[in-house]
Symmetry: C2
DNA sequence: ACCTTTATTATTGTATACAATACTTGAAAA
DNA sequence: TTTTCAAGTATTGTATACAATAATAAAGGT
């Protein structure tokens, strides 16, 4: 038992910088750490029970992810996201999600087709449950399957990075029951096109899906 | 005079981590640091005359840029780039460059149109000079103008990041005199379409331009 | 009362010290 | 001769110490 736990620790081993990175990242994405909030090293170090070194390294990583902004000799702060930033992200995401869908049509494996069907079903079930977190997870899962089916690692990484930035706004959209029927329909449409390998229709379906999300997010922002 | 120098130093101030980051980045891009080469902290620190701290932070940044790969408790090495990686990058780059061109058609300013004309001319002049570095710079400049004309910061950042990865292969392509005539022609075509605001034709021209580069790079890789 | 200047403090930037782990070399035994 | 074990070494991971700078507060002069 102790042996097993030790083994588990070995598998779970993460440098503290990565633990800190994940923690801060999560905090920023959930909004616990607000845009503009200063990230002071000693303060964070004390709170997380580590030294400044891993904190600093995590901040360097968050900086390159774009989640924090450095001000020289002043320190890091949670990046302020402007409406224009969101528009920029959505514009790129539309192109990349469309690409992912196109590639998925060509390259999806039989296993992934099954996985996609399952993901679509689970999304429907999730909407019934009504739990926002579950719904959001199911939606992410569905898109992840398509993304994975593109078999392009770089693309997967880039889309995930973009999705991260608009996570909170997407969540609002997905939570709203008024959108569920449409989401289910759009998922079904995309799924069928991808499984059939109909690139043209799949791209169009995916683009409609994204554009609908976009419009909602942009109107959220204009509040 | 001393005053002025002090002022300059203030402007030029960069944390050591950024100096190290740029140095290592340049080394990797030029091939001075070869793929698979280990990056040992003390060794680098001694060579660059700094302590391990800025070295480590620079490595964290390079890691997120994808230029180095971490092996837990083993350290960093220059990322090995597989043929598949290049294919993945090119696939995404095609989509993003096409998007950039499309957006440039809509948003390019009059100043940028002039700049684009100048960049195209300077590329022609550069090919006459025959200096590989000058040609490469002129080509980068041309594409940078179009990219800037997209007025999408995120897109600019992502394309630059992708371009970074294939820099060396692109250099080979651009250096080859046999390609110059075609490059000049393609640039002219793209430029005219963008200035006219003809999105459809501009995208097609840009895609042809990229595909030609792609084919060359991919055949380079298969050596 | 207000501005300026100076002292203090808080915070980042950098270097070093210590701890833990993985690799290497050499010797001893099979 | 080969294999295994162990000691030593090299290297990363983490913590702390020191230096430089910027923000703040207090004191003094006008």
């Amino acid at each position: 038992m102790g042996e097993l736990k030790l083994q588990m620790n070995m598998d779970e081993y993460l440098p503290l910088r990565d633990v800190v990175f994940n923690t801060l990242r999560q905090g920023i994405l959930t909004g616990e750490l607000e845009p503009g909030e200063r990230l002071m090293e000693i303060h964070l170090a004390d709170r997380l029970g580590v030294s400044r070194t891993p904190i600093r390294e995590a901040i360097r990583m968050l900086e390159l992810e774009g989640l924090v902004t450095m001000i020289p000799r002043k320190g890091a702060e949670v990046s302020r996201i402007s409406r224009q930033d969101i528009r920029d992200v959505l514009e790129v995401r539309l192109a990349l999600d469309s690409l992912a869908t196109k590639l998925a049509c060509k390259r999806i494996t039989d296993d992934q087709k099954e996985e996609l069907k399952r993901a679509a079903e689970e999304f429907v079930e999730a909407t019934v449950s009504g739990d926002a977190t579950v719904i959001a997870q199911a939606d992410v899962k569905f898109h992840d399957v398509i993304l994975a089916a593109s078999h392009n690692k770089r693309l997967i990484q880039m889309v995930n990075n973009l999705a991260e930035r608009i996570y909170r706004y997407r969540l609002e959209y997905i939570k709203d029951r008024a959108n569920h029927a449409r989401l289910i329909e759009e998922h079904a449409k995309i799924m069928n096109c991808v499984i059939k390998g109909d690139e043209g229709s799949a791209c169009i379906a995916a683009e409609i899906h994204i554009v609908n999300q976009e419009n909602n997010m942009l109107s959220q922002i204009e509040e």
